[in-house]
């Protein structure tokens, strides 16, 4: 079921459906793996904890960054104690999200544009998507009620539904209006549980460079989340993430 992708109309007619099984023999990793960010984060955290080269620090904020020809001094502040500390690193990787402090500290800006539209990402539990022919990942094609509907993991994981909504609403108004949109997207009388509902902006932006001296950017810090949840959520491909000691922040 998770190996299919479909384009459908808002009233459930199929425009096309494709099985990733066709990719077998054409590429090394033919199937996408749907995996919510929280699940991926837990996997990465577990690997870091098991690896003696890593030291994870939580509740720690970068407050300043200076570099010279041999490395980087990173000043961090501990949220609970308020104490600051300077860490010395050969390299620093800023993978600290769309509002990256590291990116700002090295003076790199994002070029591109932000859509003048408002998007809503919801997580849904307990709706019988299969019964209505939804595949693992679905585009609902419609000028107003378009949506991306996708599984975020195995059985019991929430489904992600992302859609557009009118501009200028407060977060409370978005949560009030979301069920009207979901009613159009989710056919039949079946109940569902809306467990998350967030408004977000979508950017088509990229850092002008991913490297300044000994400081590197990766992930959302370099490219904030792009629109297409198909590109954002479909699959971890061949991320043979090798790990090494950076003697400092990662």
């Amino acid at each position: 079921m998770g190996y299919w992708r479909g384009y459908r109309t808002v009233d459930g007619k199929t425009l096309c459906e494709n099985n990733y099984g066709l990719n077998v023999g054409h590429m090394k990793y033919p199937f996408p793996a749907y995996c919510g960010q929280h699940e991926l984060a837990a996997i990465i955290q577990r690997h870091c904890q098991d690896n003696p080269h890593f030291k994870l620090r939580f509740d720690t904020e970068m407050v300043a960054l200076e570099q010279d020809s041999t490395g980087v001094n990173v000043t961090v502040k501990h949220a609970q104690t308020g104490k600051t500390e300077v860490l010395r690193a050969k390299y620093v990787v800023g993978a600290d999200g769309g509002r990256s402090s590291v990116r700002k500290a090295i003076g790199v800006h994002l070029e591109g544009f932000t859509w003048d539209e408002t998007f809503v990402a919801t997580n849904i539990l307990d709706f019988p998507f299969e019964k209505y022919g939804f595949r693992g990942a679905n585009f609902v094609v419609h000028p107003k009620h378009w949506a991306v509907i996708a599984q975020t993991g195995g059985d019991g994981s929430p489904w992600r539904i992302a859609f557009g909504i009118e501009k200028g609403l407060t977060p409370e108004q978005v949560r009030e209006k979301a069920p009207e949109h979901l009613k159009i997207l989710l056919p039949g009388p079946d109940p569902y549980r809306l467990i998350q509902c967030n408004q977000y902006s979508v950017h088509q932006r990229c850092a002008t460079t991913f490297k300044v001296g000994k400081v590197l950017l990766a992930g959302d810090a370099a490219v904030p989340p792009l629109l297409s949840p198909c590109l954002c959520s479909i699959g971890c491909t061949d991320s043979s993430i090798s790990t090494i000691p950076l003697e400092g922040l990662d």
Binding site: M27, L216, A218, G219, D220, A222, G235, T237, S240, I244
Partner: protein, 114 residues
Amino acid sequence: MTTGITDAACLGDALVAVMQGIADDSLLQTYSDLRRKVFLDISNPRSIEAKRKAQSDPDNLSDADKEFYRKMNEDENFQIEGMKGSMVLQTLLDIPQPKLENGSKEVNGEIAGM
């Protein structure tokens, strides 16, 4: 998120090679250049196109979109190309195989235990 994972894979490979002295520091600039190129050439235009397709009117499709759906239903090679999606976002650097850390095992060409 997928572009971020593929950034991490590429950057991890580059940092391993630089820290182990297999490659010089310029490989990190190569990382930056190649990953920006993936955004400019692949993820950005595809993402914009996916949005346009999702927001089109299925009762009034352009000829190009009709052709897209026809091929996605009938043309196997087109379907395979169309489904590569995230699989084309990864960047493989041209570097020698990094030395494995103690305790890591290589299984079927994949590094395990890292």
